[in-house]
Amino acid sequence: MTEPVIEMEGISKSFPGVRALSDVSFDVRPGEVQALVGENGAGKSTLIKILSGVYHADAGTVRMHGKAVHFTHPVDSLKSGIAVIYQEFSLLPERTVAQNLFLGREPRGRFGLIDTARMRRETRDVLALFAAAGRIDPDQTVGSLDVATQQVVEIAKAVSTGARVIVMDEPTAALNEAECEELFETVDTLRERGVAIIYISHRMREITRLADRVTVLKDGEIAARFDDLPPPDAIVRAMVGRDIADFYAPPATEAEIGAPVLTVRGAGNDRLDGIDLDVRAGEIVGLAGIQGAGRVALAMALFGHAPFTHGEVTLDGAPVAFKTPREAIRGGIGLLPGDRKSEGLVLMQSVRDNGMLTSRAFAPLWGRAKRNRHTDETAMDGLLDAMEIRAASYDQEIRGLSGGNQQKAIVARWLSMRPRLLIFIEPTRGIDVNAKAGIYHLMRDLARDGAGILMISSDLPEVIGAADRILVMQNGKIAAEFPHGATEPQIMHAATGETEVAA
């Protein structure tokens, strides 16, 4: 057996409020694919950021080729031959493929000028390793390429730096089936060339297809380590490691589900087509699909942010056509955005101000801030108490709170408006495992009080566990519908359009 390229031993790391990793050991050898799996928030990204020098471990050592290394900056790790392909690409969309590949290390020719000919030639050489080479012109701007091809460029960039270790962080998140297969072939090529690959994913199919070894992280600790590829069930058991029944709130009973709150018929816009959708009172509808399938576009259309251009929508039986979020909110729709920091919170304002934001937005500008017709400060404090938000004071700036508590404050914002339909986008993204259960139960309580709930999530176990009904979107259309209890492969197939699965 070959010696490991990378050995990480006893790595621990804490952030204010969260212990992200404790005593994690991990290694990867040349020419193998080591899968790193775990739920969101299990500590995978933190481990990788320590490896690449973005974070510094509180304790533990990192060895490369047997020698201890201390990376203080991503540049250090890159120079040592570790390349990380992040989910958000670090490519410059306005620059050409060749310019991106050689960013920061352009070959120089005469007079110290950039040797563009050589740059172009070497770009072609590197790209030749990949099946997508034919589709890529070195002089094309990266922005003009589709997401899958951009990813190839990103990987090619890693290869061209001579990386011996390549980390791929959920590389298939935005890819369709054919593109996934092409990526797998790329990974195979890299493996044959002796590159060590750390492959982060929680999709069993990819892991069984690619991995040589599997390490499972759970709540910041090693939950299991498999030196041979184990059966998928064993991985899932190690990953979840708890009673699912308790984690998610129980599904709605027949009696709890009432009349339709929202109906959509034949609606569409430039990103959506032929949308038929019902959400009934008391029901949580899960919306699954790969990135770019149109789930967020559907939410934003319902919320009036990027409205439908045709089709019919009724809310509580009355036809509506919301053109702005304000109209939608007035009509009784609430929306919890997917990116809390950039779309949900006003970070420098207090917890209470965040909770009262929407109710104040619908009160007269010159009216007193303490009290409006939807709520007042005392009632808001009561609501925040009821949701067990942990804060020293509600006058504290919200940025000091943990993700789960921040999310609850946004829920409180909507509760004071008593919406008929609440849309949750990625409700537990970046939230502690323990806090997740709280959010699921909160959603269920809202449904029981008679609201309809539409939940968009990229976390399949979450959609399966929390929703009463699951809709799967693909290419801007609703491709399939499943009752509570559908399985992950069923949904994945419908989402990637591999086979037509009837509901």
């Binding site: 969309p93 306005e94 620059r95 960013l103 920061g104 120089r108 950039i114």
Partner: protein, 296 residues
């Protein structure tokens, strides 16, 4: 605009007149080339107008009519430009001060220092130095040749050097650039030096053209705002990372055409200022309105 001008005065678009239009825009063009660099790294420079005033005065005071002092005067101006550029760049990149505020503050400081010493035309420029503004090479003004050469040089830097590539990277995605090992702070400082040196050259040109320096010529020409408007019209985005020199040159041409149209139409100078303000806002709006980004 071109059509309107052409119909009003058919003789207007002769080569001679074209050169005359350009002559008025040389200072703006030189300044805008520098401004292009800072805007490409997502910074901005509002201190160019007072720096132009300062260098024009410095040049004409040092020369004071003596041809022998031309070289020291030019060197002093370029040094002053580089110094201001380094300061601007460090305040922006090391102290993390918003570039608008940093350079506005710098503008106050320069103007204050300048006003402390002079309040009127100061010094004089010797005949030999007036060649910069009035000389001709084979019928083409020296200054125009200089502007074209400067633009070519700037284009070459942006297109063919690692520094140019780093500029686009730092402006396009600062984090990605730093992950690739580019010292983006240094890039920001260097672009500010280029910008301020260009402003210093524009100051020298104006001193040569007016035959003397004055502490108000920069502010009078609104070179800070106009150079930004010219760059934006040329397709360089204020958020950085996209654009280039030839767009800026085209923007400068558009501005000079508008200016000369005003002159032909006989618009008085105050009304011209009003129209100028409106045109700058309209020009930026023309590009900004398409972006989805919320601005404030």
């Amino acid at each position: 605009m071109v059509i309107a001008v052409a119909t009003n005065q058919t003789q207007y678009l002769s080569l001679e007149n074209l050169i005359a239009i350009l002559g008025r825009s040389i200072a703006l063009g030189i300044t805008a080339i520098g401004q292009t660099f800072v805007i490409l790294v997502a910074s901005i420079d509002l201190s160019v107008a007072s720096l132009i005033s300062a260098t024009s005065v410095l040049a004409s005071v040092i020369m004071d009519g003596a041809p022998a002092m031309i070289v020291p005067a030019v060197l002093a101006c370029l040094l002053l430009g580089a110094f201001v550029g380094v300061l601007n760049g460090l305040i922006v990149s090391a102290l993390k001060v918003n570039p608008l505020i940093a350079t506005l503050g710098m503008s106050l400081i320069i103007q204050g220092c300048l006003s402390a010493f002079v309040s009127n035309f100061a010094g004089s420029v010797p005949e030999a130095f007036q060649i910069f503004a009035y000389g001709q090479i084979g019928g083409v003004p020296v200054a125009l040749v200089f502007l074209v050469l400067l633009a070519l040089l700037a284009w070459g830097i942006l297109r063919f050097t690692k520094f140019g590539s780093d500029i686009y990277a730092a402006g396009g995605n600062d984090e990605a650039a730093r992950f690739a090992g580019i010292k983006t702070g240094r890039i920001v400082v260097l672009t500010h030096v280029i910008c301020s040196v260009c402003a210093a050259i524009a100051g020298l040109y104006l001193a040569s053209r007016l035959r003397s320096g004055a502490p108000w010529i920069g502010a009078d020409g609104v070179y800070d705002l106009e150079s930004i408007a010219v760059v934006v019209i040329g397709g360089t985005v204020l958020a950085g990372g996209r654009g280039g020199i030839w767009g800026t040159m085209a923007g400068m041409l558009i501005f000079s055409l508008i200016d000369s149209a005003f002159n032909i139409a006989g618009v008085d100078s105050f009304a011209k200022q009003v129209l100028r303000g409106i045109i700058i806002v309209a020009a930026v709006a023309f590009y900004a309105i398409r972006s989805k980004r919320i601005v404030a």
